[in-house]
Symmetry: C2
Subunit: 241 residues, 2 copies
């Protein structure tokens, strides 16, 4: 049996762990996790050790991945689920430090995934999934850095879908935009929130895997931002046309 090949950037994060688990449980995927620490469930791991220089992180990750993937095969699914959250208005001392962190977590990983897609995405239905955020579609006055980083990911998604972006024709790019994901960390720091408006990690992963099982034409269109809006434990998708 020919396994499909999946790469999960952030495979040890809350969403990434569910991705790795579900991909493996499906029995259909060979999975490579890219993260600071190895995933025990993944078939292979690429470790991110370079945190201060974007170019070096890129060449280091792609160099390691090349040893695993090489010229042997195409990557079917790239899930870019690295990221985090930090706040800060213009009046807060930490705003620059936090904006720098948001940029590194969300945008460095997204552009490196775009490079991985450019090199290896399967031209017969490969999918690159990036991660944006619904709040960043408007202003985010109390979290300037987070808003900017996710706005950049949204615009990158549009760019990658356009001709000449370097992404192989026949593959596609989609960004998932959650409001709040139901992660252990979010439950810990917002214990009194309304969890019925949070989106389950399993639902997100199931949705992205279902897109990948569809033809490129049946998926959300290439470059679409897809909002995950949850109310009373039910999640609606608002798919950019």
């Amino acid at each position: 049996m020919a396994y499909k090949l999946a790469v999960v950037y952030g495979g040890c994060g809350a969403l990434g762990r569910v991705f790795v688990s579900k991909l493996k449980l499906s029995g259909a995927y060979e999975v490579i996790s890219i993260d600071f620490t190895p995933s025990a469930e993944a078939d292979n791991n690429v470790l991110v050790t370079e945190l201060s220089d974007w170019s070096r992180q890129s060449s280091d990750v792609i160099g390691q991945l090349d040893k695993v993937v090489g010229k042997r095969r195409n990557i079917d699914l790239i899930a870019c689920v690295a990221g985090g959250w930090a706040g800060g208005s213009a009046a807060e001392l930490d705003v620059v430090k936090n904006s720098d962190l948001m940029w590194k977590q969300s945008v460095w990983s997204s552009l490196i995934c775009a490079q991985i897609s450019s090199k290896w995405s399967n031209p017969d239905g490969g999918l690159l999934q990036l991660t944006g955020a619904v709040p960043s579609l408007g202003g985010t006055p109390g979290m300037l850095g987070y808003g900017m980083a996710k706005a950049a990911v949204h615009q990158l998604t549009h760019s990658l879908a356009a001709p000449g972006s370097g992404i192989p024709e026949g593959s596609s790019v989609v960004a998932i935009l959650p409001v709040t994901l139901d992660t252990p960390m979010n439950r810990k720091f917002m214990p009194d929130a309304d969890f019925t408006s949070w989106t389950s990690l399993e639902f997100v992963v199931d949705t992205v895997m279902a897109w990948h099982d569809q033809s490129v034409d049946a998926r959300p269109k290439n470059g679409a931002l897809v909002q995950f809006v949850t109310k009373d434990d039910v999640t609606d998708l608002i798919i950019e046309k």
Copy 2:
């Protein structure tokens, strides 16, 4: 006579030099230039020497500015016109290096200007002007880093206009979005382009200075993206409502 106080971040760039000159020529402004090199026309200069660390650039610039401005007075106009251009699709080797440069030039400067505005913008009509780009409203497949950086500036503009951003009430924020500015560098590198579709630097500066002369209510609304679209040497403004 009480001069108004203006800060030009990027006062030695093509657009910045015109800003400094016109502000001084008006006879109404005391001008502080922030750039790598001193502006001979400005009344005061803050020199940017820290290029590798965003937090240090911020604290260094704000520390120097504090010595000039201190608690004495409010800043009336902050023009953030630092920036540059570099291309790169996902398939190009330089894409990460160039994206890093675009981020530093456009976003570091914009967020530091937001901090300056937070500390010193005149609550009686102060104006913070940031610089975006029309192409970044859509996808920019051949210039991923430029597109992301300017998309981040657009979203930052929306954020800063929202309550709780740290920008003083009674001041406002507007982003100018050119397509192509008629700079010496652009003429050098695109000698065969149609210059009648490029926007004159003088027009941009006159427009921003005119906004500043108006009341906050008469200007483009707080947080507006204003596109400068030039055809046959005539520039139309498309003002976000």
